[in-house]
Symmetry: D2
């Protein structure tokens, strides 16, 4: 412990202090607000240096160290930063959010207080169609005319459910019971506090294109409006080594080696045996995993072997 | 490691094996089912003896050791037992349940599959009134006539919301979006796996008389139908040292000492200063904490000092 | 969300800012240093009010709310405060410390860096005798003459082990292997970050008179020098409702009721049946649990029934 | 819930039942023993089907589903399996092990009982040299003659420390204090219980070639002797998609695209700008990250651009 370390002052991030308490709007009536934070890029370096020793301390080294930690999944230094958000979010989205068990949470209680009287509304152009390929996803939009009708029905439904709720409350029914037929789209609020490592895990999953649109927009707001400003070096490393990265399985690596060494017959055999493709008579078709592989090959500038030139 | 330990076989609890897979009904359409378990009373003793050494091993000792561990909150041996349940529960109740972060969970996904088409129904005599004292509780019931009306309205509402959902599905709307206006009372299902220590914590909170009725009946079913059979010595110790116990604060202990030593003036002064009572002219009235104290004094067979004989 | 909430600034606790980075000495060469903190008493109130609604906001109310939360074990608002410490502690004590799994940790690595070259030294008057009653405790001290001899032997031992370590290092042995015969008393350092709820749980266990002396002094330093200043209202409530409190089991409550109602024969029978006492001919003796009960009765100003007047 | 599900019996894995309680030796005096387990490959499929719906149920489908879950990091179904081990391990290795916070643990207590009287011994040919490149690793071995000397010194040291310990114990010093100068190489024992998802995370880190040898051999014993038999489909998927996989960063993907499209000048520029190489006059040298990239390129059968043919 050097003298220098002894003269500590609290970490401040001026760019974050400016947006403290500001509600970034999400969806039609939700928001994300920064309530407090602990630490910044420097705190990660500081914690890592407790573990890994001192060395030089120039700015470029800090960046290099953070990137090294991110690349090698040395996660504990990232846990040394903490953030507290105030969010407003529809309950069906909150049900996904809360599955991340590593956060501290205080949610608005509809046992103590009357339920918030707004629910997420869907515009005529916002209705999405069920994806055929991705069983848990959506793809494309409903035609606006049908959308218009659904939007009107939705408004009626939400109004009706609010009346049902109020009717029960007026009759003296306990809040904990009166709320039971409110729609899942009802807004709730929560304080949500989490360390940076677990937040990045949350963002990686929820900023993914396969995440449901309604939670993705929250994740993007948190990432782009807040985390990027809070820990710019971490954010850059996260985008490079996590969010923008791909993983190659042992069999995909073997396949790439065969392709790069021009051993096409063996590659074709491996594709089939490892389940990337299936044969149907003369026809070779990719499986689900094959289509995932194709996406990776395209990003790497390589031909997809079963596709015609 | 003795030879004896070397001849391990898996722990079996015949009383549990009999109810494996049996659905214990809860509420109008919910259930709790035992899927699997690891360990039993003996496993706790076994784990404790790794920490605390061997000693004698008669049955009475095992009971004594388990009670000692429970009394002194030596919690780690209880973590050596694990249980897996399959439950069916309304979403508003699941929202409370899931707040216990220490469990492993696989919930039915309404992104992948169509939502379960039943919602929790309330009988005419089941509507509860808002408690005046306990802001988050209920107290007494609505008169049956008004209840009848609410029950009918509820049935219409749930039917209507199911139609809205099906209409969206038929138009091709993505399941993840179509579900948004389903009522919170919609049933969901989950596999829920938790260790015994954390399960007891859950049961202690949710079997409490202040817990919402709808989650209390699940906790009671788990406790009485399953845990009591699984680990009978632990269950007895839990009822004695946790669920049936009371805590006395430092000031309550001081007060009891004064009362037991007949120092009534000092006791009265302490009651006032510590905030158990307030004075309103000549009248002494208990505060919220004072009423809690009165409940404890009654259980201990003591006079409540501010009450007239 | 009111306008007022919108004008957030970061929580500051001037009394803490003053001691930021200051190393509070513990044991012969250890310390505890505050590195950073998030939140204060107000943050707990703020988080609780998200859950429980608004109400009046005077200072006395805040204290009352915090005490209510502590008393009723509403733990989530306390998780909204976070603290980061830098500690220096002997490895055998750290081995106990690290068993609290809810903290974030970066420990000094003796794979990356040379081991810290000091070990915990014991003064001639500091050697404690094994307790006969408490199998895991100590009681009384060794006579100073024998202590003097042990202290000298300890110094020789630690010096010798440091030489063994250095000899290996000089021969080029990998640090990860060279360290293997360093004594458990070797100092290590760590950054340790934890939320207030889990910190209080740690302090409650480790400030206890049954905790090992060497960890108790760390817990006391953290509690008295840091937490008391950080969240004075929480600290007061913690001392009243947790650290200074006692728990009465269901059977102890039943016993107190019998004693208070002067039903001494039944009380004597219960004592025996519930295992607080055993009979040996005419002699009644307390069991281990009986002695624990006696301690509680004494604090409540009550006679211990099996003791002669 | 179908009738079929209703007729549950507990999952059994005959290959595991055979090795229950068997101590697999590790290091000179350590072991790993299977105490109990919950679930198997089928349980993962069963839990996933609660979330993702039914579909066909042939064996090949089960394998495909498990591989899909592993590939897409759908981790919750893997948490539905649990395992309990009894291990004996040197304390310096246990200090690394215990950093995995998601397990349940009961460790042998040297406050309650006398310390285990063996310490990890190092053979003359087992002393490893400090790696120059990997600051936390070892590389190559000490010459046997020097090793012989260190091994003898080690034996003397461990014998001496055991005597110091016994001397203190005989003088009546409390066990919790007497132990303080035992070597870090002293063996300890623990029950260790963890779910499969977290176990795989542990194995992935600790079976890595960069993990310390002494913990790697434990991880390999657990993986090869136990997990492979317990959940063969999961083990295969884990080896393909996790342990044998590589991650490519966004910049590595961009680089591969340039290389595959024969845009060598741009590739060289990117290598330099992204920090894979540095220039020193005419000389191009790889950085640490560059050397990592080279390892990946080799596995993929590609030329390392900065290496001469």
């Amino acid at each position: 412990m050097s003298k220098e370390e002894n003269r500590l002052h609290r970490v401040r991030v001026p760019a974050l202090d400016k947006i403290l308490g500001e509600a970034f709007p999400v969806l039609d009536d939700g928001f994300v607000r920064l309530v407090d934070y602990m630490g910044n890029d420097d705190s990660i370096v500081q914690a890592a240096r407790v573990s890994y020793g001192k060395g030089t301390k120039s700015v470029s080294d800090d960046r290099g160290l953070i990137r090294y930690l991110m690349r090698h999944r040395h996660t504990t230094p990232f846990e040394m930063c903490e953030i507290k958000l105030h969010i407003r979010v529809p309950m069906d989205i909150w049900r996904q959010w809360i599955r991340h068990r590593t956060a501290n949470v205080n949610e608005y209680s509809t046992r103590y207080s009357l339920a918030i009287d707004t629910a997420r509304k869907t515009g005529p152009g916002e209705w999405r169609l069920q994806s055929e390929i991705n069983k848990q996803g959506s793809e494309g939009g409903l035609d606006p005319e049908a959308g218009q009708k659904l939007t009107e029905r939705e408004a009626d439904t939400q109004k009706f459910l609010q009346e049902i709720y109020e009717e029960r409350i007026e009759l003296g029914v306990a809040r904990e019971q009166a709320r039971k037929d409110l729609p899942l789209s009802t807004y709730t609020e929560a304080y949500w506090k989490i360390d940076l490592h677990n937040l990045l895990h949350f963002l990686n999953l929820r900023m993914d294109h396969k995440a449901q649109f309604e939670i993705r927009v929250y994740a993007e707001a948190i990432g782009e409006k807040i985390v990027r400003k809070w820990v710019p070096l971490v954010w850059e490393a996260f985008m490079d080594y996590r969010h923008g990265a791909i993983t190659l399985s042992r069999k995909e690596i073997d396949l790439l080696a065969l392709l790069n060494e021009q051993r096409h017959d063996e590659a074709g055999k491996l594709l089939l045996e490892a389940g990337f493709t299936t044969r149907d008579g003369d026809l070779t078709r990719p499986t689900l995993e094959g289509r995932e592989l194709a996406g990776k090959l395209e990003r790497m500038g390589m031909r997809v072997p079963w596709e015609k030139d």
